[in-house]
């Protein structure tokens, strides 16, 4: 089967973001950007399906600026076969991303879409579910295990109470949680090879999708600051302070 892996270029997870003084957004100038960590897990899962003979082709797709090619090249270096960049400099909301991905699904007819459960920039956790809805496909969100059982896909999901396994008809959308796998590092030869793999460039208008934002960001502010408190010298001190100063025991 064919597997589609949408990925997103986001601020690197180790970078601490700063809010711009004019409160218009966070400051992304000269900040290290990387592939969304959950999407790396998705690429790894797709590549493993290919290595296991379950998938024949893995296609990476992203919607973002020209520089988002870096993330597609990373996906190709990890083992994806080809890539699609839908280029735009605008901020594209999950609903519009889902609409664009739905068009890609109509064109490519993948049996499976694997993607991160959320992007660590807007923390929305929506796109996979929205894509599944638009396609009328089932969804296996927050996946920690994915296996093909006959013509169904079994997805074990990390839920608030523990783990839940569902059986999905194919095609389906799976969104990845942290413990699905540990993504590989691309080797240097694979990074070199990835430069020669096909990468198609498109624009949102090629798909006839309107990407106007529905949410207007009025402002972006710093959260209330927490000041470091005091160091206590012993366990006895700690218990005394919690009882008598903080009053929480």
């Amino acid at each position: 089967m064919k597997v589609l892996v949408p990925v997103k270029r986001v601020i690197d997870y180790n970078v601490k973001v700063r809010v711009k003084p004019d409160q218009s957004d966070v400051d992304l100038a000269n900040v290290k950007m990387s592939m969304n960590p959950f999407d790396e897990i998705a690429v790894e899962e797709a590549v493993r399906l290919k290595e296991a003979g379950t998938a024949e082709e893995v296609i990476a797709v992203t919607i973002g600026p020209e520089k988002a090619q870096d993330q597609l090249r990373q996906a190709l270096a990890m083992g994806a076969d080809r890539a699609i960049l839908i280029e735009t400099t605008e901020t594209v909301e999950p609903l519009s991303v889902a609409k664009l991905l739905a068009k890609v699904c109509e064109e490519e007819s993948p049996q499976l879409v694997v993607m991160g459960k959320q992007a660590i920039d807007d923390d929305c956790n929506q796109t996979g579910q929205m894509l599944a809805a638009l396609m009328g496909w089932p969804q296996g969100t927050f996946a920690s295990a994915v296996t093909k059982e006959g013509d169904k896909l079994h997805v074990t999901r990390e839920i608030d109470g523990g783990l839940q396994t569902v059986a999905l008809n194919l095609p389906a959308v799976v969104t990845t949680d942290l413990r699905l796998n540990e993504p590989r590092y691309a080797s240097l030869p694979n990074i070199m090879k990835a430069k020669k793999k096909p990468l198609d460039k498109k624009s949102p208008s090629d798909y006839g999708v309107e990407i106007t934002a529905r949410l207007k960001t009025l402002k972006v502010t710093e959260p209330p600051k927490r000041e470091a408190g005091i160091k206590v010298g012993s366990v006895a001190d700690l218990v005394e302070k919690l009882k008598n100063e903080a009053g929480v025991l």
């Binding site: 969100t141 396994t165 569902v166 059986a167 942290l178 366990v235 700690l238």
Partner: protein
């Protein structure tokens, strides 16, 4: 304005987050209805009827709703959506699963995980692991919203809304429940607990959680959480993870044991009222948010703490 809150429940028990979602709905203002869809969920429906501010509870019974699978849940919510201006659910793993599915079908951009209501169309939500707060205004005619329970007060439970039984919607037979492994614990639930004690990588094993964390938790009547590192290493199950992509908690007292304090972990606990950090590395970032820091070896400090309580 008419608002539908979709209840999060385990059929016999309604979650606290559902009541807190009703609090958020009250801030928007309007008639508030609660949908309880489940299998043998009369108890949950009755609890929902008691939430102050709720005008009516809609109770849908069918086996298909027993496990809250996204496909049947979304179909049911969509069948009711015409009558409502706002659809809201707690931002737990159920709401996060079905609400975007509903939003996409309604051609609405969902507002995820709100922490404050500024007006009927303007909300605050954390972004970048809570390192920034965005105030967003929705231009969609209908609103689809998920709510971070810890950001809203629990309403009184003195209501007496009517419970109306409604029929099931069509079932998209594209998914089915296979099995579940739920973590059994006699300790309080992480997200409602007054005291949370969490362990990190420094615990070094699941046995050490048993030996050093649980006894203190039981003395305090505390829930037990963990950092991602401890869950990844297999010391404890996934549902104990506190952080950006795990559970968000805001107890009266949060005790972080052997947790260094990555920003992703801080995102899940920094709204706690009092934070205690016990860590032998005095440079650990967790001390920057802790009200009380104890630089100590947890393997010595925890038995001492257990005795002192």
């Amino acid at each position: 304005m008419t608002i539908l809150v979709i209840a999060e429940h385990t059929n016999d028990h309604l979650s606290d987050a559902t009541a807190k979602t009703v609090s958020a709905a009250t801030k928007i203002g309007g008639d508030i209805h609660v949908l309880v869809a489940g299998s043998g969920a009369s108890a949950a429906a009755e609890q929902a009827a008691k939430i102050s501010g709720v005008a009516k509870v809609l109770h849908a019974e069918d086996d298909h709703y027993a496990k809250q699978l996204a496909e049947p849940m979304a179909a049911l919510i969509l069948s009711l959506a015409d009558d409502y201006d706002v659809l809201m659910a707690p931002a737990g793993t159920d709401g996060k699963n079905y609400m975007p599915r509903v939003a996409a079908k309604l051609d609405v951009m969902q507002v995820s995980d709100i922490i404050a209501v500024e007006s009927a169309d303007t909300f605050q939500r954390p972004i970048y692991a809570g390192n920034a707060i965005a105030t967003v205004q929705s231009s969609d005619a209908k609103k689809v919203i998920t709510v971070r329970g810890t950001a809203f007060d629990a309403p009184a439970m003195d209501g007496s809304a009517s419970v109306e039984t409604i029929g099931a919607a069509e079932f998209p037979s594209i998914s089915e429940f296979v099995k579940e492994e739920l973590t059994k614990s006699d300790r309080p639930e992480l997200q409602g607990a007054k005291i949370v004690i969490s362990g990190g990588r420094a615990l070094a094993s699941g046995e050490n959680f048993e030996k050093y964390i649980y006894p203190v938790a039981d003395k305090l009547g505390a829930a037990v959480g963990a950092s991602r590192a401890a869950v990844d290493a297999g010391y404890v199950p996934n549902d104990m993870q506190v952080g950006q992509t795990g559970k968000v908690v805001a107890p009266e007292l949060y005790i972080a044991v052997g947790i260094s304090g990555a920003i992703q972990h801080l995102a899940g606990m920094k709204d706690s009222k009092v934070i205690v950090a016990i860590n032998k590395d005095e440079e650990a970032p967790i001390f920057q948010v802790a009200d009380y820091g104890l630089v100590a070896d947890l393997f010595e400090a925890m038995p001492e703490l257990e005795k002192a309580l």
